[in-house]
């Protein structure tokens, strides 16, 4: 007997979606039940795949069990290239939001991102407007809009399309961060370790930010 939730969950996982409380609460709750997890894993295991949790334990992804086959390696390589190409833009976005929110931590799953609040702060400081302009020069955030409101809307819209944000309410200008950020931080942690990106390099941006 098939189960609609099982089918939806497996399909979402196979479509490279990151399932978290924000992106799809129903599927997330389904996966939080041990029996469901086991059923999904049993199915995925038969097609060389498995269910994984991000290290923050807040989002599920589907991973290959065995990546020794050439086509699997190629798929992984392609995904990595995609992340590598977008990473600089995403880092700049995270820094921009941290500066705007005066926070000591980057965006995390569940955080509310309000276009109006961000725009108010950006338009109040020309330096921040310049940062937004440089952000929309990055490939994934590129837009023809020249005003801050249009640029910010484009950036948030792109992040929504990529699954990093989910629109809430009817206005279309308030979002919640999804578990994809947790996955990205895991990727960044790995890159940091393997590319030898020093942790103490952090002192640099502190000084830049103060300036």
């Amino acid at each position: 007997m098939s189960s609609p939730l099982f089918e939806r969950t497996v399909t979402a996982l196979m479509q490279e979606q990151v399932i978290c409380e924000i992106s799809d609460e129903e599927l997330y709750n389904y996966l939080m039940m041990p029996d469901s997890q086991e059923a999904v894993n049993r199915f995925l295991g038969q097609i060389n795949r498995t269910l994984r949790l991000t290290s923050a334990q807040d989002a599920f992804v589907c991973a290959y069990l065995d990546i020794s086959r050439p086509e699997t390696k190629e798929a992984v390589r392609q995904q990595f290239k995609e992340v590598a190409n977008h990473l600089e833009a995403l880092v700049h976005f995270l820094r921009l939001v941290m500066t705007l929110e005066s926070g000591d931590r980057p965006v995390q799953p569940g955080d509310k991102v309000s276009e109006g609040n961000l725009l108010d702060r950006i338009t109040a400081a020309p330096a921040l407007e310049a940062k937004l302009r440089s952000l929309v020069e990055k490939k994934i955030f590129q837009t023809k809009r020249s005003d801050a409101a249009g640029q910010l809307r484009s950036v948030l819209g792109s992040l929504e399309k990529m699954g990093y944000l989910k629109s809430i309410g009817n206005s279309g200008s308030v979002y919640r961060a999804t578990g994809r950020w947790s996955w990205l931080y895991d990727v960044m942690t790995f890159i940091q370790a393997h590319e030898g990106i020093a942790q103490d390099e952090e002192s640099g941006p502190e000084q830049l930010r103060l300036g």
Binding site: K73, A75, V91, D104, R105, D186
Partner: protein
Amino acid sequence: MARVQDAKSTLQALARFGGEILEAHLRHGNRLAETDENHNMLQTLEHHRLVWRIGDAEDLQLKKVLVQFLDHITETERRRYANAQVSQLWQKLADLFGDYKAAKKRSAFGDIDRLEGEIKECLAEVIEDIRNATEAFGSYINTGFAYVTDAELRIRENKRVIEQADKLIQLFESFKLSELAEQAGSDAFLKRLLLRYLPATLESSQKDLSYSLNQLRKMLVRFRENQRLSKLVGAFEVHYINHPGFEPTIEHIDFARLPEAFNTVSPFTIRGFGDIYDPVDELAIIDLAANARTVGNSSEPEQTIETAVSVNFDVAGEVEIEDSDPVEEAIVELLQLVVDGALGEQAILASDALKSTGLAVERADWLQALAAEIEVLSDNDRECIEVIFHDTPDPVYCDNLSVYDIALRHHYAQ
């Protein structure tokens, strides 16, 4: 006298801005934000030397003397050091019981009375301080250490509070209530305090404290993770600045040890065939198939266009040019002559016109065609023609008239 006046004025300022000062003390780490709304208050407090700051860019801070006073009146101090306070009181209680025992041995009734009173007071204080100490941790959880702005300092403050809570738990565990209870003697009030109120307070406080400790530890983990992620983003930011065009690669990585974060599947669609072999689904599939046909027809607009083009071609090839009708042409020409007034005021008979055309048409058909053509003339043209019917009555039904000719004449407007 002036000094007394100044002091009074300071106290009045404290009373006037009491709410804001308490808010700053309890929720904002003794800082007062410099806003337009606070402008008057800050000026007054600066005048009375109750605030200080290092640079213009910094927020104003309440002075130490005022903070100590606020600590006292809000019992913050007492709560902060309730841990040590409870320990001291507990020691004092143990000493008092020792003295009480000795006084009883010597039957020193005056001392017994005095010690009983002191023990009761001390016990009441212990119970109060235990409650205070526990509540203090709850307030740390509620604020989330938001009054500490720096991430590293917040972590240190959190750790310090966890250590305090740990010590308090150890202290509670060291209390030997059964031993104390034995020393209560026959005093009913003392027994009630030692056997009922103190154990109940300790039990609920330990429960609250355990919960607080758990929450504080979770908070510490969260703070550390936030700090790690913040450093991670910062490290990448600087790396991109220092190494323009940097692009991470995984070419040199051993795929056998690839972390899970990278090992996510590429998407593909899961599809299947409709189960035509299971009769249970037969009706549903028939319905789907029927719809599919409809969809198929309507979803091929391009083919329809191609068909239409070829049909158009065929139609164009089969166009038949009809021969013009000489009778109709002659009538149109005749009427045009009359309409244009080419005949002047003269009338022309239809029978004469027929003769002049040389057409082999029956007079009746000619007259009928002429009458029909006159009917379909436009209103303007019709007004230009005067039509006179030449007729004879029927010999039998005299009301019926037989038209044998029609005279046409241009009609000039009056």
